[in-house]
Symmetry: C2
Subunit: 147 residues, 2 copies
């Protein structure tokens, strides 16, 4: 059974590759070729409101410095604006611009599209059971750099 377990590990990595590449391609097709998946995920998080650089760092699983740099890029692209937190002058709340909202939506669409591409192969039932199985795994929370 060990041999099959090893193969399963590879199929999981393969699936993740398909997802990441699919998101990249989906973003590009929507005119956001410059947006990397990790940036898209950050935008989605920011879109949920009340988000700071630390929140982004936690979600992506990187240091606050790395998150700060990533956010800096998004600010430079006019996807994100920093606003002062009225309750805590240390915090700089992140908010989406109109362009940022478009990118966040595109990221979610691209992610959905990437797995929707499997529907012809797996069927709706297959996707559903896949969702059930993988959803039962530990939620480690942080995603991974380079995504």
């Amino acid at each position: 059974m060990t041999k099959r377990d090893t193969d399963l590990a590879l199929t999981v990595l393969n699936a993740a590759t398909l997802v990441v590449d699919g998101i990249q391609e989906g973003l590009a097709r929507r005119g956001h070729a410059a947006v990397r998946p990790a940036q898209g995920f950050a935008l989605v998080r920011i879109g949920q409101g009340d988000t700071t650089v630390l929140d982004v760092a936690e979600q992506l699983g990187v240091t606050k410095q790395a998150a700060s740099q990533l956010v800096e890029v998004l600010v430079g692209r006019r996807h994100v604006k920093r606003v002062a937190d009225p309750n805590d002058a240390r915090r700089r709340l992140l908010t989406l611009t109109a362009r940022g909202r478009a990118c966040a939506a595109a990221t979610e669409e691209a992610a959905a599209e990437a797995v929707a591409a499997w529907r012809p192969t797996l069927g709706a039932a297959g996707l559903k059971s896949l969702y059930g199985l993988l959803g039962a795994l530990d939620r480690t929370g942080p995603l991974r750099p380079a995504w």
Copy 2:
């Protein structure tokens, strides 16, 4: 249904994170903390025989230069040796040393272990159906950098 598709994409990435981290940890627990997953995969490939730098590059989905650098590290660690190809003086066949074989085996074990950790949660039947579902997806072949 789109919302669920988006979530599924995230669960796939989460699963891949678990696999990669599990492999890292499994390698460390076997005394190969310095071996990165991508290096382990390269070792496994080299262990199959008749492997060149270009083959490694293809498997990992990186340029031949990157593969060359990765192999250079493995050679420096005495995991891999380069031998001349008697039929083609341009090719430098890669072979595993005893230490390299140990690392390759440890990588496969660690990968199997990473998904075996899901057995208590998903059950043997769950793993099997997961394998069936993910195995049906396109085999893009190349893995990803940084793994």
